[in-house]
């Protein structure tokens, strides 16, 4: 009995090693990563010189730019024309024109396709559309707390109407778009 009491006491009273002390200290001192709930996922893309985010839920796929066929009577508007996406003929929208970022469609002659140019195929409530964009970065999560109001100058421009707010991403300002309003307008103004 006394034998075992003594060995328990030895075990509990033993010297803490330098190494385990260091390990525990580091664990306690580490900055806690807080997993935040309610963050939103957006796909970040560029039109001309401006960056935008669209909720990931509406994105179906990202394709490379292919031939866009102009529809007579729709030239120069928000509708660029028809585009073939995996055998489906989709309506292609010049998102830059809708948002008032008109850098992409200057001039009438066909531009040389830039290798970073992409087609974003989006679907919201059964309405499918293809958007022409200059570049797609990828997905990004942000917390609603990060969302700031769009600058007042933007709030008055066409672009401002569709922007819920802006978030910072890699020292760039990204305008987060209101997908419901965007599709609402597009579905109505295609005729």
């Amino acid at each position: 009995m006394t034998e075992s009491h003594a060995s328990v006491a030895r075990l509990l009273d033993r010297e803490v090693t330098e190494e385990s002390l260091r390990e525990s200290t580091a664990q306690v001192a580490a900055v806690k990563t807080v997993v935040e709930l309610g963050t939103k996922s957006v796909v970040i893309f560029r039109i001309g010189a401006e960056w935008f985010g669209l909720p990931t839920s509406v994105l179906q796929e990202i394709g490379s730019r292919s031939t866009v066929r102009t529809l007579p009577g729709h030239q120069g508007g928000i509708l660029s024309g028809l585009v073939n996406v995996r055998g489906d003929l989709l309506l292609c929208v010049a998102l830059g024109v809708v948002l008032g970022v008109d850098h992409t469609t200057v001039g009438t002659e066909p531009r040389k396709p830039d290798s970073s140019e992409r087609l974003m195929i989006c679907k919201r409530n059964d309405a499918r559309l293809a958007f022409e964009v200059s570049e797609v970065y990828g997905l990004h999560r942000y917390s609603p707390r990060e969302l700031r109001n769009a600058p007042a100058t933007l709030a008055r421009a066409a672009e401002g109407i569709y922007t819920l707010g802006v978030v910072c991403w890699k020292d760039k300002i990204v305008g987060c778009l209101d997908d419901e309003l965007l599709f609402y307008t597009l579905n109505k103004s295609l005729t």
Binding site: S66, T67, R69, T70, L71, P72, G73, H74, Q75, G81, L82, V83, N84, R86, G87, D88, L89, L90, L91, T108, D126, A127, A152, A155, R156, G160, I161, E180, L181, Y184, T185, N187, L190, T191
Partner: protein, 760 residues
């Protein structure tokens, strides 16, 4: 939710499934009953009928359609009794049963909400139906021993089933047409399948280009090997060290290895390409074939209709159908139903004589209408021929002259074909009296219009006393067209070949100019020229040198030459409909994919001809129009009306519209919130109680928005208690109008008070 949203059967409600089942089973019932009337094969028919009635009874029970359960049950009992030879199926009973089938169809059509009321209202009819089935039974057993004998002699072969060792025949697949198993696939699924199959075909063609590129590479390698060989020849033997010549030999070996290896890969690739192209071509055509349905599917109701129409006119008529399995495009089949029905009714009413007349002429008392479908020379031919009295050409001449369409003299000279053409004129009728069946003179012209819309034509031939024959000539499918591909403003456009009169290249000096308009002579007729760019409102100009490429459109009455950039060739194209959100696109009917996968537009030729005509007349008007345009451009004040009641919304819209304001409407708060942010409005008029977002919430959103916070807002509501009013005003409304008072001038007066006159 609209039908197009339904992706698969799993999304359908039980009621929708029941409706589908009723549709299928009532076809079986109708066909079976009609067959029983004349056909000897009674045993199998009865089995089929019994099963159909039984299935329907079960399905009706699941969805709680008591009326359908009772009706189907009565019919099933009756068939079972007939199978046991306890009763016979008389003509009268068949009539009653057909009425029962109609009753079943009606039951399926009633929505769940109206079911109770409907069943109550139909209670008597259902009762009467069940009674009449059992009553007829008694009467027939006593009064028609002959029938009984007929039926029992027909079912006699049944005894063979007891022979030992003989397999019991499968009951269901009795008829050839029904023996193909049928799957229901939604049109959307089929279309996306067609899209993917087409894409596979396009992808397969890319390989051809790629292997051509590899061939190029092979040639380069050959040249490379030759150059190497020549290197050795340049040096005289002995001038090169042993080591160098070893190295050279090694290089040549390696080059040869590369050549061999490439040749092998190339052969593999070519084999794969052939297989892949073959498979994807077959896949594509197989999917296209899925759009085809047997002709029999489109004419299910016709036997019944012919019988009923004949009976109502006291004529005895039977419909003979050949080519029931002829495949017909489902869209064409659907649209053919009405014209075919019309032609059949027409044949029975105008063609077939009364049984007495027929006897006098030595014809069988029962008239026959023959309906035939077959493929011939890449076209679908449908013939409707009766053995009736035929068209009296003399009577047609009289009718033509009476209507002042031509003189008697000319009419006498006309050929049979020319005279028969008059039957297609709108409002032209040979009948002295108008009957319920036909004779109003509307019909044949509608038939012709429909057939023309489908890209086909109708021909009549007739022999006095021998009958009349209508022949419809139609394309096999609407999903494939042969088209002339041309380039306009650098982009490809397709003209349906059937609508192109002529395509030609003309030296520039053969174009004449008369009064500033360009013409050229085509077979001694002057044809006016129009630039395709201009009609389609495209940028750019047609090429200014070389021969002029012209597509001639139109008909004898008006021909136009459309100047295009160049011809790209003729090709078969799979037609794709345009996105419905576009509405009707001017001058364009549909689209298609080119072999390289890029889209091409298919021209709507009728629309294009109209545009050419408009263009020709508006050139002179364009200068006069400019002043009027600027007057109309004065800015109107815009009002957005948000209300979930259609009546109120329209009333408000009309009142404001009459008052001179531009009005847009939105159907609820959410719709209104979207609209007010994207349009520029001077005033928002909103209801309070609305789904999704109510008027007060909408108002709060507007007031919180930077750009909209000063927008005048007026609330129009049924709620006119003081607390409702103050709630609205607190939220920021500029005016609160009770709905009771807007039918008079109040609404307009308040609007003018708030934002001023419409044009001020």
């Amino acid at each position: 939710m609209s039908n197009s949203d339904i992706d698969n059967l799993g999304d359908l409600s039980m009621l929708e499934l029941f409706r589908m089942e009723t549709e299928t089973q009532s076809t079986v019932l109708t066909e079976g009953l009609l067959g029983l009337e004349r056909d000897a094969d009674a045993t199998q028919r009865l089995e089929e009928l019994m099963r159909a009635a039984h299935s329907l009874k079960g399905a009706a029970r699941i969805v709680g359609r008591q009326a359908a359960v009772v009706v189907a049950h009565a019919m099933e009992d009756c068939f079972v009794a007939a199978q046991k030879k306890e009763r016979t199926i008389s003509g009268e009973l068949i009539d009653t049963m057909l009425a029962g089938v109609d009753l079943l169809n009606r039951t399926a059509g009633v929505s769940d909400e109206n079911l109770e009321a409907w069943e109550a209202s139909q209670h008597d009819e259902i009762e009467a139906f069940v009674k009449s089935i059992s009553r007829l039974d008694q009467a027939v057993v006593q009064a028609a021993p002959v029938d009984q004998a007929r039926v029992s002699s027909e079912v006699a072969p049944e005894a063979r089933q007891q022979l030992p060792g003989e397999p019991v025949p499968e009951p269901a697949p009795a008829r050839t047409a029904a023996s193909d198993r049928v799957l229901r696939v939604t049109a959307d699924n089929l279309n996306s399948l067609l899209g993917l199959a087409g894409e596979a075909l396009v992808a397969s063609r890319w390989l051809d280009k790629f292997s051509a590129d590899l061939l190029h590479l092979k040639r380069f390698q050959n040249q490379f090997a030759q150059t190497l060989d020549s290197v050795r020849d340049v040096f005289p033997s002995g001038a090169v060290s042993e080591r160098a010549s070893e190295r050279l030999a090694e290089v040549r070996d390696r080059a040869a290895l590369c050549q061999r290896s490439l040749a092998e890969r190339l052969a593999d690739l070519e084999m794969f390409e052939r297989r892949f192209v073959n498979f994807s071509t077959r896949l594509y055509h197989e999917v296209l074939d899925c759009r085809m349905r047997p002709f029999a599917d489109g004419i299910q109701g016709f036997r019944r209709m012919v019988r009923d129409v004949g009976q109502s006119l006291d004529k005895s008529v039977q419909l003979e159908v050949t080519g029931e399995s002829t495949p017909v495009d489902r869209d064409i089949l659907e649209r053919l139903k009405a014209p075919l029905g019309h032609l059949l009714r027409n044949s029975i009413d105008h063609g077939i004589e009364s049984p007495a007349d027929r006897n006098n002429q030595g014809k069988p008392a029962e008239g026959t209408v023959h309906l035939e479908a077959c493929h011939s020379a890449g076209m679908l031919l449908i013939t409707i021929a009766d053995d009736g009295r035929g068209v009296d050409l003399e009577a047609v001449k009289r009718a033509v002259v009476r209507r002042g369409l031509t003189t008697l003299e000319t009419a006498q000279k006309m050929t049979e074909a020319e005279l028969l053409e008059f039957l297609f004129l709108p409002g032209f009728s040979m009948k002295e009296s108008v009957s319920e069946i036909s004779g109003r003179g509307v019909g044949l012209d509608v038939v012709q219009t429909t057939i023309k819309e489908l890209g086909g034509r109708v021909r009549i031939s007739s022999g006095l006393g021998q009958g009349t024959r209508f022949q419809l000539e139609l394309p096999l499918t609407l999903s494939l067209i042969r088209a002339l591909l041309v380039e306009i403003a650098g982009e490809p456009y397709a003209f349906p070949l059937a609508r192109v009169e002529r395509a030609l290249k003309l030296p520039r000096d053969q174009i004449e100019s008369v009064q500033g308009r360009q013409h050229f002579a085509l077979l001694d007729v002057q044809v006016g020229l129009v630039a395709a760019h201009q009609v389609l409102e495209l940028k750019g100009l047609p090429p200014a040198d070389g021969d002029v490429s012209i597509v001639v459109l139109g008909d004898k009455a008006a021909r136009y030459g459309l100047v295009i950039d160049r011809f790209l060739g003729e090709r078969e194209l799979a037609v794709r409909t345009l996105d419905p959100r576009l509405g009707k696109v001017k001058n364009i009917s549909s689209a298609a994919l080119m072999p390289d996968g890029s889209p091409a537009l298919i021209v709507d030729v009728d629309d294009l001809i109209r545009s050419i005509e408009n263009l020709a007349s508006s050139r002179r008007l364009s200068r006069l129009g400019s002043e009027g345009d600027s007057a109309a451009a004065i800015k109107q004040k815009r009002v957005l009306v948000v209300d979930d009641s259609l009546t109120v919304r329209e009333l408000e819209r009309k009142l404001l519209d009459t008052g001179g304001y531009a009005v847009d409407v939105a159907v609820d708060g959410m719709d209104g919130w979207n609209a007010v942010r994207t349009g520029h409005y001077d005033l928002l008029v909103t209801d309070v109680d609305m789904p999704r977002l109510d008027g007060i919430e909408l108002l709060k959103l507007v007031r919180a928005d930077n750009r909209l916070k000063s927008l005048p807002v007026m609330i129009v509501s049924y709620k006119d208690r003081p607390e409702d009013r103050s709630r609205g005003m607190e939220a920021g409304a500029d005016y609160y109008l009770p709905k009771a008072s807007f039918h008079d001038e109040t609404l307009l007066r308040v609007v003018t008070d708030l934002i001023g006159r419409p044009d001020a």
